[in-house]
Symmetry: C2
Subunit: 719 residues, 2 copies
C-alpha cells in the first residue's frame, strides 16, 4: 500500500465516522429511541421523555460531544462506578502515552526511517508505506542508537504514567471502600461447603458453628436455596405468558390492519392468562413453602461489624480446607446466585476444565476461520467434493459463497467470542457478576492479542518470508528476529485495521445497532407500545480488550513504524468522547468490581512494553547494531522490576481490604448510632428469587413440586 | 558394564558399608566420642557418660540397629519433632513403593526385557546390563502393553500411598498445632515495616497503632534492635578470648611435655582475661543502655489470645501494603533475628536477586566441573599455555594434577553447594531458621535433580548418540524421545551412583567424619579436656534432596531398567535405620517447621511420576507401540489432576492455621485458668541477644558505641 491509498482509506473512514456520528446526534433526539440511547437516565428517573416535535430534532449537532467533554470525574463515578472511571483512566493513559510517542516518533524517528537508506524517493503520494518503517534503515547505521533512545524515553514515560495512574486508582478504590454509603456486602460473608451432618439441616449446622465460634459478632444468616422445580415452572410460565402476549398482539395488529379494528373481545385469553399468572405469583410468594430439602450447602452469614465479617471471610475456618469455605460477599445486585449452589468440591476441576477449554478455543479459533476463507476457492472444493458441482452451477449462489459468506461467517464467529467466554466464566463457578465479567475480560483479552496481533504477524511472516519453517522448529532464539522482520511489514495491515475495525467499532458503539433494530422491531413490527428498557451494563469484557489491543499496536509499532501513531491517537480521542457519553447516558451500573480492571490494564501495558523491547532487540540484532542491543537488555530488566514493584506496592489493596479502613468505618457508624439500623436493613438486603420484571422488585420464593396442587398445574399447562 | 562387574561393585560396596557400620558400632561405645554420636542425648541430659573400660567396647555389635528399629513414632516425634517423622515417612513411602515396583518389575518386566529380542544370550555373568533394559525389547512388540500396565499399577500405588501419607501427616500437623504444650509463637505476631513518624520512636508508633486498632486483644510488644557496635565488639572479644585460651593451653601442653610440668603461674593472663570478659558481659547486661536509635522498624507484638494473634497475622493492616506488614511469629529458638531488621521495602528485590542467582548457580554449576575435568588433559593445556611446561616437568606434580585434582575439586565444589544455598536463603530475608532450611532444601533439590539426573542423561545422550544437536535446536517435541533413548542407557551409571554415592553417603552420615576429626583434633592436638558439644540440627536441606533423588531414580528406571530397584531398595532400608538412629542419638531439635517438608516431597514424587510417564510415552513412540502410547496419555492427566486435588484438600493446612483449632485451644486455656500465667511467661519468651555460651542462656543486651567508656575499650584492645 502507498501513502495515497492510506490517505484515501483514512478519508473514507473519516467521512463514514462523521456520518454515523451525525446520524447519532439526530437519532438521540428522537423520543422513540430514548430507551436505546438513554437507558441509564431512564433507569434512574423512571420518567419517559415525551417532547413535542421540534425542528432541531432533525438537525445534526455536536451537543453530545460538549456534554461528554464537560462531565467531571465525579459525575462519571456516580454514573458508572469505579470501573467506569478506571476504564476512562486507561483511555486517558493511552492518549497521554500516544501524544508523547507521536511527538517524538513523528518528528524524529519518521525522517530517520525515511532517509535511512540512500535511495531515489518517489513522490510522497506514491511512496510505499514500508519506507517509513525501521526496515528502511541501513544495516549497521549509527542512527539506530536514536531508535534505542526513543524506546527508552517511551518506556520511562509509560512507567511514570502507569505509576501515577496506579497510585491514583488505588486511592480512588480506598475512598470507594471507605465511602460513608452503607454497603450490605461489607457485613456479609458467603459460606460454602457447609458439611452435611445427619439429622440436622444445613441451617442448623451453620447456626451452631457460627454461634459457637463467632458468638460475639455473628448476627444472622440466610440460606441459599436450589432452583427447585416450582421455580423453574414459574419462570417457564412467565416466559410462555410473554410469548403468547406478543403473538396475540401481533395477531391483533394484523387483524386491525385487515378488518380495520374489530377485535375487542379477542384479548380475553391473554387477560385470563395474565390474571392467572399474577395469581400464581401471589400464591407462591410465601416463605412458609420453603423446605429444608431445597437448601444447598451455602449461605450468607451476617455479622455485627465490618471487621468481623472481614476476619471471617479471610480465615481458614476448619481443619478440612474443603469445608466451611468463606469468602467476602458481593453486593446484592452483584450476586450470582446460580453458582452459589455449585458443589465447592467440584470447583477446582471446573476451573481446570475451563482453563483447558479456553486455551483450546483461543489457540484453535483460527482453524474455522481458515476453513471459511478456503471457501473462496470454490473451484478447488468442487474438484474434491464433486456433489457440490450442481449447487455451484447457479451463478448467484457462487458469487454469494465466494464474495460474502467468508466474511459473514468470520464476523459471526467473532461475535460468538465474548458470549462463549462469558459462558466459560460462568462455568468456572464465580459467585459474583462483576467477577464473571472480569474473568471473561481476561479471556477475551488473551483471545484478541493472540488472534489479532500474533496471528497476523505470523501469517505475514509465513507469506512474505516463508519463515514459518523457523517457527516449526520451535527455536525460541529466533522469535525476536522473526517478530522484528514481521512487525514493521504487518504495520500497514494494523493501520488499516485501526481505521476500519477501531474507528468503526466506536461508531457502532455509539449508534447501538442491535438495540436500535430491536427497538424498531418491537415498535413497528410488533406494535408494542411499551418502551422495553435495555438495562445493559457496560460491556467491559469486550471494550477493555479492544482498547488494550490498540494500546499494544501503538506501543509495539511506535519506534518501528511510527506512521500508525496518528491513527491510534485519533482512535483513543474518539474513544474518550464516545465512552464518556455511553457511560453517562446508555449503560446502567448494577454492579462494580471496585477498580479490579486496573491490574489487567497495567499488566497488559507492561506486556506491550516488554514485547516492544524484545522486538527492538531483534531489530537491532538484524541490523548489526550491538550498541543499542546492549542498552535495550537492561531496559527489559528494569521494566520487569518496575512491574514487580507495582505488584508489591499496589496490588494487594485491589484484592484484599485493609483492616484499618473497616475498623474506622465501624467506629464511625457506632458513634453515629446507625449500627442498629444497618443490622435491621441487612436482614432484607439479599433476596435470592426476584420476579423477572425487575421494576416490581417482587420476591418470588420457591416451593417443591409436590406441593403444587393439580388444578394449578392444569391451569399453567392449558395457558 | 556387565553383570559380573555390577555384582563385584555391589560386593565391594557392601563390604565397605559393613566395615563402616561395624566401626561405628565400636566408636559409639567409646566415652570420648559421646559428644559426636550422642549430641542429642548429651544436650538433653547434660551428664557425661564416663564408663569404665570393658571388653565389649571393642567388639562390633548390632545393638544400635535393634534400638533404631524398636523406636516408636512417638519417640521419634519427641526426639525430632514433626519434621523428623515426616522425613522418615518419606523414607517409608519410598520403601513401600520400591517393594511394590521391585516385585512387579523384577518378576515380570525383567524377563520380558531380557527375552525381548531373539538373540544369542551369553552366560549370565558376562551379559551386558543393557539387555535388561527396555531398549532390548523389539520394535512394535506386543509385550510393550505389559510395560504400560506396570506403569499404571505403579502410578496408582504411588498415588494411593501419597494420599494416605498426606492425610496422615496433615492429621499429625493438626495434632502438633493442637498439642496442649504452650507455644509462645501462637500468641505472637511479627510486625515489620513500621512507618517512621517524626518525633516518635518506633515503639511509640507501634503501641499507638495496636492500642488503637486491637485494643481488646493487644497485650504488649518487644522491639527488635539492630546489632549495634557494642554487640559486635562483645562477640569479637568473646571470640578472641577463646582463641587466646586455646593457644595458651597448647603452649601449656608443649611446656608440660618439655619441662615435665612447671607452668603453674603462666595461666594468669588467661584467668585475667576470663574475668575481664565476664565483667564486661555483666556490665552490658542491663536494658537501660538500650537506645531508641537502635530500634529498627520491626517488632514482636503479643496478644491475649491465639485467635487474636492469628487474625492480626493474616490481615492486611493498612492502606499501604508495604507498611505494617504482619506475619505469624516463629518459635523463640526458631527466630532468625538478623533478618528482622532488613528493610521490608528491599525484600522483594532481594528475593528476585536470589532467584536469579540460584538459577545461574544451578544451571552453570557444571562449567567449573567441566573445566576441572579438562585439567586431566594437561598435555593439551601446556601447548596452549607454554609457561606451564616447567611445572609439568616434575612427574609427581603431573600425576597429582591429572589423577586426583579433578575429583578433589569436584568434591569440594559439591560440598560448597549446600552452604551456598544456605547463604542464598539467608539473603532472601526469611525470619525463621526453619524457613531458611526449607528454602535451602528446595534450592538443593533443584540443584541435585538438574546436575545429577538431567546432566548425566544429557551427557549420555551427547556421547552415545550425538544427539545434543537435537537439543540445541530446542525442539521440545523431541525431548521425550531423547529422554527415552538416554534414560535406559544411563541406568547403568545410576546403579553405580546408587551403590557408591547412595550407600557411601549413609555410611558417612553414620560415622560423622567431620565432627569425629574435629573431636580428635581438639582432644589430642589441642589437648582440650572439655567435650565441645556439636549441637547440630538435622541437615534436612541435604538429606531430603538426596532421598528424593534416589526416589526419582527408582521411579523413572522402574519399568525401563528394573535392575536398579534392588539397589535403591537396599539404600532406602539402610536409610531408614541410619536416619532413625541419627535422629534419636545425634542431632538436636532446636526448631521445627511443623511438617512443611511434606509438600516438597509430595510435589517431587508427582514430578517423578509424570517424568516417568513422559519418558514411557517417548519409549512407546520409538518402539512403534501406538496402543500403550494412547493409554499413557490419560495417565499423565489423571496424575496431574490427583496432584491438584491434593493441593486443594491438604495443602492449605500446611501454610495456614485453622481458626477453629486456635479458638478451641484458647477456650481450653481460659477454662483451665492458665491464661494469666501464659501472659506472664510471654513477656520473657523472646530474647534477641543471648551470650554465645548457649548453656548459660544469659541475655546480653546492646548499647551504643558512644556509651562504652574509654578504659573498657582499652582493656578489650589490650586483651
Amino acid at each position: 500500500m502507498n501513502v495515497g491509498g492510506l490517505l484515501a482509506s483514512a478519508g473514507v473512514n473519516s467521512v463514514v465516522c462523521l456520518a454515523v456520528f451525525s446520524l447519532y446526534s439526530v437519532l438521540r433526539k428522537q423520543p422513540s429511541f430514548v430507551a436505546v440511547y438513554f437507558g441509564h437516565k431512564l433507569a434512574r428517573s423512571k420518567s419517559k421523555r415525551r417532547d413535542p416535535f421540534w425542528l432541531g430534532r432533525l438537525v445534526p449537532s455536536a451537543s453530545w460531544v460538549v456534554k461528554a467533554w464537560d462531565a467531571t470525574e465525579d459525575e462519571l463515578y456516580v454514573a458508572g462506578g469505579v470501573d467506569a472511571v478506571v476504564f476512562l483512566r486507561a483511555v486517558i493513559f493511552s492518549i497521554k502515552l500516544c501524544i508523547v510517542a507521536s511527538i517524538i516518533c513523528l518528528a524524529f524517528v519518521l525522517p530517520l526511517n525515511y532517509f535511512g537508506k540512500e535511495m531515489q524517493h518517489k513522490h510522497i503520494r506514491e511512496e510505499l508505506l514500508t519506507v517509513f518503517t525501521i526496515g528502511n534503515v541501513q544495516r549497521g547505521s549509527e542512527w539506530l542508537g536514536f531508535h534505542c533512545l526513543v524506546l527508552h524515553i517511551i518506556t520511562i514515560c509509560a512507567c511514570f504514567f502507569l505509576y501515577s495512574e496506579y497510585k491514583y486508582i488505588m486511592k480512588m478504590r480506598l475512598n470507594h471502600i471507605n465511602s460513608p454509603l452503607y454497603r450490605p456486602s461489607q457485613f456479609t460473608v458467603v459460606v460454602r461447603a457447609i458439611p452435611w451432618i445427619d439429622q440436622e439441616s444445613y441451617s442448623d449446622t451453620l447456626a451452631n458453628f457460627f454461634t459457637d465460634f463467632y458468638a460475639s459478632s455473628y448476627l444472622s444468616h440466610q440460606m441459599v436455596y436450589e432452583k427447585s422445580a416450582i421455580q423453574k415452572l414459574m419462570s417457564d410460565a412467565e416466559r410462555m405468558y410473554k410469548i403468547l402476549r406478543n403473538i396475540h398482539m401481533e395477531r391483533r395488529y394484523v387483524k386491525r390492519l385487515l378488518r380495520c379494528g374489530f377485535c375487542g373481545s379477542h384479548s380475553n385469553a391473554s387477560q385470563d392468562f395474565r390474571a392467572l399468572s399474577d395469581e400464581s405469583i401471589s400464591i407462591t410468594n410465601d416463605e412458609s413453602f420453603l423446605d429444608d430439602s431445597d437448601e444447598c450447602g451455602a449461605a450468607l452469614v451476617f455479622f455485627r461489624t465490618r471487621y468481623a465479617a472481614l476476619v471471617a471471610s479471610e480465615a481458614l475456618q476448619s481443619q478440612n480446607p474443603m469445608a466451611w469455605v468463606t469468602n467476602a460477599a458481593p453486593e446484592p445486585r452483584d450476586m450470582f446466585w446460580a453458582n452459589l449452589c455449585v458443589s465447592y468440591q467440584s470447583l477446582w476441576i471446573r476451573k481446570i476444565i475451563v482453563v483447558v477449554a479456553s486455551i483450546f478455543f483461543v489457540t484453535f479459533f483460527l482453524f474455522p476461520v481458515v476453513f471459511t476463507q478456503s471457501l473462496v476457492h470454490l473451484d478447488k472444493l468442487t474438484k474434491l467434493l464433486p456433489f457440490l458441482e450442481k449447487v455451484v452451477r447457479r451463478v448467484v449462489l457462487e458469487q454469494l459463497v465466494t464474495g460474502y459468506l467468508p466474511s459473514v461467517i468470520l464476523t459471526l464467529f467473532l461475535c460468538l467470542v465474548p458470549p462463549v467466554m462469558y459462558v466459560f466464566s460462568t462455568l468456572e463457578g464465580v459467585i459474583s457478576r462483576s467477577e464473571r465479567k472480569r474473568s471473561a475480560c481476561i479471556k477475551v483479552l488473551y483471545f484478541v492479542i493472540w488472534n489479532v496481533f500474533f496471528a497476523n504477524i505470523l501469517t505475514e511472516a509465513a507469506i512474505d518470508h516463508y519463515q514459518i519453517s523457523i517457527l516449526k522448529l520451535g527455536d525460541y532464539k529466533n522469535i525476536p528476529s522473526l517478530l522484528a522482520k514481521a512487525v514493521p511489514t504487518t504495520a500497514t495491515f494494523f493501520m488499516t485495521y485501526c481505521l476500519t475495525s477501531g474507528w468503526a467499532s466506536l461508531a457502532c458503539e455509539l449508534i447501538q445497532p442491535f438495540p436500535l433494530i430491536a427497538n424498531l422491531f418491537t415498535r413497528h413490527i410488533l406494535r408494542s407500545t411499551e418502551d422495553s428498557p435495555y438495562p445493559y451494563t457496560f460491556p467491559y469484557h469486550t471494550e477493555v480488550p479492544r482498547v488494550l489491543l490498540f494500546g499494544l499496536l501503538g506501543i509495539t509499532c511506535s519506534t518501528l513504524a511510527p506512521l500508525i501513531l496518528p491513527f491510534v491517537l485519533v482512535y483513543f480521542m474518539l474513544a474518550y468522547l464516545v465512552y464518556r457519553n455511553q457511560i453517562l447516558n446508555v449503560y446502567v451500573t448494577d454492579y462494580d468490581s471496585g477498580g479490579q480492571y486496573w491490574p489487567i490494564i497495567h499488566n497488559t501495558t507492561i506486556f506491550s512494553l516488554v514485547l516492544t523491547q524484545v522486538i527492538a532487540l531483534g531489530v537491532f540484532g538484524i541490523k548489526d547494531a550491538p550498541g543499542p542491543s546492549t542498552f535495550t537488555f537492561p531496559l527489559i530488566v528494569v521494566t520487569l522490576l518496575f512491574n514487580q514493584f507495582c505488584r508489591q506496592r499496589f496490588l494487594p489493596v485491589f484484592f484484599r481490604t485493609p483492616a484499618k479502613s473497616v475498623i474506622e468505618m465501624d467506629r464511625r457508624d457506632e458513634q453515629g448510632g446507625q449500627m442498629e439500623e444497618i443490622h435491621q436493613s441487612l436482614l432484607t438486603a439479599y433476596t435470592q428469587y426476584t420476579s423477572k420484571n425487575g421494576n416490581k422488585n417482587k420476591e418470588i420464593v420457591s416451593r417443591t413440586d409436590a406441593e403444587l396442587d393439580e388444578t394449578e398445574k392444569g391451569d399453567i399447562c392449558r395457558a
